[in-house]
């Protein structure tokens, strides 16, 4: 048993030294414009979602489920999110693709997150990604309208998007 423990401790030591050495020697690729391997992307996205699921309070969207809510959220999306996450009816964002991991293109893929989870992510951001916390810029009701809007992708009612573009053009 004593030998087992000694071996275990030696294993820990070797692992830590190995990881530190790997990092210190600069062997970890730092580029964000390298293609992300499929398994890495899946691992990261699922771990992030698991953490959000665990952390985000399970709240109901306090706003009414109305076109007005979606339009308010859509205007916010158009102002602040399309640069990385893509615009409905347009090709995927080139800029969003230059992050590692890349920014998900919501208008195409939608999201598996609940509205409460989208709200939480928009408010607090995701560390070690390009997703910054928006809670210092926007009050909760704004972020709830955004969550309602993003949750409707990729099946956004067309008249809602037309209305948003009309309003933002004015």
């Amino acid at each position: 048993m004593k030998n087992f423990i000694a071996g275990f401790l030696a294993g820990i030591l070797v692992l830590i030294t190995g990881v530190l050495g790997y990092l210190r020697l600069g062997l970890l690729d730092a580029r964000s414009d390298a293609a992300i391997p499929d398994w890495t992307a899946r691992f990261l996205y699922s771990g992030i979602h698991a953490s959000v699921r665990r952390t985000a309070p399970k709240l109901q969207n306090p706003l009414p489920q109305s076109d007005e809510t979606l339009i308010a959220g859509g205007k916010l999306y158009l102002n602040d999110c399309v640069g990385c996450h893509g615009e409905p009816g347009k090709p995927p964002s080139d800029f969003g693709a230059t992050f590692y991991p890349p920014a998900p293109q919501f208008p195409r893929v939608g999201t598996k997150y609940s509205e409460a989870e989208v709200f939480w992510v928009a408010k607090h951001g995701i560390r070690r990604t390009g997703m910054s916390a928006q809670g210092s810029s926007y009050a909760d009701p704004k972020l709830w309208s955004l969550a309602a809007f993003i949750s409707r992708f990729p099946n956004l009612p067309p008249h809602v998007w037309e209305e948003i573009q009309r309003k933002s053009a004015m």
Partner: protein, 166 residues
């Protein structure tokens, strides 16, 4: 001896599996509006530095930059970088919305060389908010930006005004 080897192998299995499970099950904190620990910052910052140094080693030396190049790079900075990295000539204000926080370059300056700065802007730094700008800037623009960034905390007097002039 056999038991020692068993223990050794067990550690090599248990630690990675534990780490992967910790992350996959969602125990790893994810919110960006927090500050990384000093240990995490030191570890990852030195890893990025070492990786950039290694990767940028093959980048040719920069073309000699004159004042016009620095001004041109400064203009690019004002348009594309200062939103996260700090306003040129502005007061120090830490960004607490991204994790890790982007360095506030006008105040902190940088320890990276011009070829390394060129490389970082071109390729980005993964798992940070620093995306790759290679698709959006020409080689000349990347080099002028690198020349500017290298001098950002010690610009000669009057340079900021020149950069801000339309």
């Amino acid at each position: 001896m056999k038991k020692f080897v068993f223990g050794f192998v067990a550690a090599l299995i248990v630690l990675p599996v534990g780490g992967i499970a910790y992350f996959a099950l969602g125990f790893s904190p994810i919110r960006a509006d927090a500050k990384p620990s000093a240990l995490e910052t030191a570890l990852l910052r030195s890893a990025v530095r070492a990786s950039v140094r290694r990767s940028a080693a093959g980048v040719p030396s920069p073309p000699a930059a004159n004042d016009d190049d620095v001004v041109a790079g400064g203009k690019l900075y004002v348009l594309g970088c200062q939103g996260c990295h700090g306003e040129l000539g502005g007061a120090y204000q830490e960004d607490t919305d991204l994790y890790p926080a982007p360095p506030q370059l006008p105040h902190a300056g940088t320890q990276y060389s011009e070829p390394e700065l060129y490389w970082i802007v071109k390729h980005g730094v993964r798992m940070t908010g620093m995306s790759a700008y290679g698709p959006f800037y020409s080689e000349k623009e990347l080099w002028s930006l690198a020349a500017f960034l290298h001098r950002i905390d010690k610009l000669p007097p009057g340079m900021i005004e020149k950069i801000r002039a339309k």
